[in-house]
Amino acid sequence: MGGFLADAERFVIASESARMTAQNTTDQQAGQYLTFELAGEAYGVEILKVREIRGWEPVRKMPNTPRFVKGALNLRGAIVPIIDLRERFNMEAAPYTPTTVVIVISVETGASGPVVMGIVADAVSDVLDIEPNALRDAPNLGSKINTRYMRGMYVGKHQMVMLLDVDKLLNPEEFVDLDSLSTGQP
């Protein structure tokens, strides 16, 4: 029900992400990443995937979804799910403060096309230009985050940034696996 309305919305998103992928192919030289903070650590996402950044506002809970799906937000008429990355990575939950932000990201899921999701982060920090050769493979230290959700790691002068592969991390299909492993509830 209501599927056809989504088509029109998808079209807008699709055209935007088409523009993005077109740019992606040409930016092999240097990628721009938006970095944000999560429990004191720095993470980054490709800036071309970011659609907007907004302050945290209460969302509508969605029943029977994984814990880290905080709920759904009305983003100018589109229903956008909001994911808490702390909970997604099984970190300690933190209360939402005035600096808590929602980064709205366009996710390429492959099978079900592009979708838009929001991630909750403690704060946004910076935009970094990162040369591809400055990217290192993510260390597999048995860290809290599965390396399959990482694009790599960037070690700067002052900080170390984990670059996330949002297409994998925020793919709704992936939520099933992770969930049955961690919490065991549907």
């Binding site: 029900m1 209501g2 599927g3 056809f4 309305l5 989504a6 088509d7 919305e9 998808r10 209460p58 969302v59 509508r60 809970k61 969605m62 029943p63 029977n64 979804t65 799906v69 709920g71 759904a72 937000l73 009305n74 008429g77 589109a78 229903i79 956008v80 799910p81 079900s112 979708v115 838009v116 999701m117 709704p172 299909e173």
Partner: protein, 682 residues
């Protein structure tokens, strides 16, 4: 060619399919006794544009085929050929064939040459009908499919035309309109032996020459019994952009060149320029590519778009007025502000309505296919049937239109097959020999009603009952109301047709029809009178994008229940609650035990205020024939909500059919009652 033609394919196919529909309805409307030239013209024009389009895009198979049809139609148009039922049937068959060809090209499939050949043969036979041979045949025979030689064209009033001299002087701008004389000459050369002499007199000095202008003119001699139409057609695209004069060369013409003795038909077809087949292949390739990302487009009445633009204009005016007030606000402007806001509200609502209106299509999109269906079926069954279409302009949501088509086909087939009697039976009972089937569409409230009425034999209650008992669908002693008896035909596996035909009677139709209609949120009613006929009425919501909803509160959460699913809302008293096996709860309502679904349990709402059943309300709902009670905190209000998909950015959630945005901008989930019941079962 630098231009990517594939981008126009979609439009071409859409227009062609529309053209085919127009041809079909035109052919069906032809009155054998008194043929209206306008009708034939309409059909001819449709065929002509399909031919032109397919030629442009390099779909030669289609253009060749259409060409033969066009020839036949042309003769009918000029009154040289009588419009006969056989000819119309052949043309109808060809329309189907063309539709399949176009569909095949669209889908990137190969065209079945055997089927096309058969239709073409039928057309050719119709063309070659003795006594009807005319000049136009010559051009028809230039097709590659038929190999049999044809007599050269003979015009009784004049000596045989064995060739033409053509003086062709293009205007300077000819090249700018994308026309290429060489291509036209190549086309001419396929009709007969062509000699061309170029006239360079108009050519300016090299320094003055603008290479985009055409300064040449030609004198062409075409040998062969070519019809004037065929020549005109070659030059059809440059009409008005050149000076063209053609003079026939007659048999005894002294200036006739010696080559005249060889009729064009016997001459081997000149090899096509290499570019044309390769164009065709390219087009095909592009096509497959295009079909991969098949877009769903909609044709919208221009007046609707104009309304929309007007609305937006109004909205912008209101907005600037409001911002003006906002810039320098004083308390005495409060009235103005209120005024402006109410205007804004009105414009927004109107805008929303007109945007919704864009999705609305007239029901004639569905109805238009039925005259053909009725025509084919009635001749197959040997019945005389008149199909009446009423309320074709009633508008429905595009999705509804698309999903309505199959159920309606079932119903119309049933009416024709089971409802309408054979002519002799009809006259025996004093009815006119010709039966009437009426398709009637109209709005009633927020619904659209579509009725399929026939004046046939009606439903026989006793027969239905006997059949249902025989099939074991009801108990022999079951007491059924009239309505219940009629509804037996919707039971799976029920069919009253004595003989199973390939048209209907397999007993799979009606239950599928009802399911489809219910899936659209509608319902279906039957009324019938034995010997007088039956009426089947489909009630559907106007649009699937808007829903009448009841908001309910569970703690801090707000959910929307489709209003249509709600039967009643009641307070719960403890003495009516039964706990089954310690877990499931049921509520006794008028002798029926309703399972209670506690919303706060099933959706894990911790903030729910009502934990004990007596503290909240029970909303009795129905879904897929089952009833249950939803235990909620409170009822909030009724409102129309716009349905938004959750799947667009997430995935399906069991028990939730979608989401909507409430007046305060927050999201509310719309409950899916059958899904909730499944969830509660787990």
């Amino acid at each position: 060619m630098a231009i990517d033609m594939a981008q126009f394919h979609q439009v071409f196919f859409e227009e062609s399919f529309e053209g085919l529909d127009a041809m079909e309805s035109g052919l069906l409307n032809l009155d054998m006794g008194d043929v209206n030239v306008d009708d034939i013209n309409t059909i001819f024009r449709a065929a002509h544009s399909i031919k032109g389009g397919s030629g442009t895009f390099g779909f030669t198979a289609v253009s060749d085929f259409t060409h033969v049809m066009e020839t036949l139609l042309d003769e009918m148009r000029d009154g040289r050929r009588k419009v006969t039922q056989t000819a119309v049937n052949v043309l109808l068959g060809s329309v189907d064939c063309l539709r399949e060809m176009l569909q095949a090209i669209k889908d990137g499939d190969t065209i079945d040459p055997a089927a096309v050949g058969a239709h073409k043969q039928a057309l050719d036979q119709e063309l070659a009908h003795p006594g009807q041979a005319t000049a136009a045949i010559a051009s028809a025979s230039s097709s590659t499919m038929t190999q049999q030689p044809r007599p050269p064209a003979v015009d009784n009033d004049q000596p045989a035309v064995i060739g033409w001299t053509i003086a062709f002087s293009p205007h300077l701008d000819l090249l700018k309109t994308g026309n290429e004389p060489v291509r036209m000459f190549r086309e001419l050369a396929t009709l007969g032996e062509l000699t061309s002499t170029v006239d360079l007199q108009g050519l300016p000095d090299l320094f003055d020459l603008d290479p985009e202008e055409c300064h040449l003119s030609w004198k062409l001699v075409l040998n062969g019994a070519v019809s004037p139409d065929a020549i005109d057609e070659v030059f059809a695209w440059v009409e008005g952009e050149c000076d063209l004069a053609r003079m026939p060369i007659h048999g005894e013409h002294p200036a006739a060149p010696p080559a005249m003795t060889i009729p064009a038909q016997d001459a081997p077809r000149p090899p096509l320029p290499a570019s044309i087949p390769s164009d065709g292949k390219d087009a095909k390739k592009d096509d497959t590519k295009a079909s991969g990302k098949a877009s769903n487009s909609i044709r919208v009445d221009t007046s609707k778009i104009d309304t929309l633009i007007n609305m937006v204009g109004e909205l912008v005016i209101t907005q600037s007025m409001l911002s003006l007030i906002g810039d320098r606000f004083e308390v005495n402007k409060l009235d103005q502000l209120k005024n402006g806001l109410s205007q804004l509200e009105r414009h927004t609502r109107e805008l929303q309505e007109s945007v919704m209106n864009i999705r609305m299509l007239p029901i004639s999109f569905v109805f238009s296919r039925f005259p053909r269906l009725a025509h084919d079926l009635s001749s197959k069954l040997g019945k005389k049937v008149e199909l009446k279409l009423v309320g074709e302009h009633t508008e429905v949501d595009k999705t509804v239109v698309e999903l309505l088509s199959d159920p309606l086909v079932h119903l119309v087939r049933n009416s024709l097959d089971h409802g309408i009697e054979m002519p002799d039976i009809r006259s025996a009972v004093g009815k006119p020999e010709t039966g009437t089937v009426t398709l009637d569409a109209y709005h009633r409230g927020g619904n659209i009603v579509i009725e399929v009425r026939d004046d046939g034999k009606g439903l026989d209650k006793d027969k239905l009952r006997a059949k249902a008992i025989e099939k074991g669908l009801i108990e022999p002693d079951a007491v059924l109301s009239d309505k219940q008896t009629y509804e037996l035909i919707f039971m799976p596996g029920f069919s009253t047709a004595e003989a199973l035909t390939d048209i209907s009677g397999r007993g799979v139709g009606m239950d599928v029809v009802r399911r489809n209609i219910q899936a659209l949120g509608g319902n279906i009613d039957i009324a019938s009178e034995l010997g007088k006929g039956s009426t089947i009425a489909i009630h559907l919501p106007l649009t699937l994008a808007i829903l009448d909803g009841q908001s309910i509160a569970v703690g801090d959460e707000t959910y929307i229940v489709p209003l249509g699913a709600i039967i009643e809302s009641i307070n719960i008293t403890d003495d009516r609650v039964n706990r089954v096996a310690g877990k499931g709860e049921t509520f006794l309502l008028r002798g029926e035990y309703l399972p209670i679904i506690r919303m706060h349990d099933i959706f894990n709402v911790a903030s729910a205020k009502a934990k004990r059943l007596t503290e909240g309300l029970l909303v009795v709902v129905e879904g897929q024939g089952l009833r249950c009670g939803l235990f909620v905190d409170d009822l909030l209000g009724q409102q129309q909500v716009v349905i938004k998909s959750l799947e667009a950015n997430y995935r399906r959630i069991e028990g939730v059919s979608g989401a909507t945005i409430l007046g305060d901008g927050s999201v509310a989930l719309i409950l899916d009652i059958p899904g909730l019941m499944r969830l509660a079962h787990q």
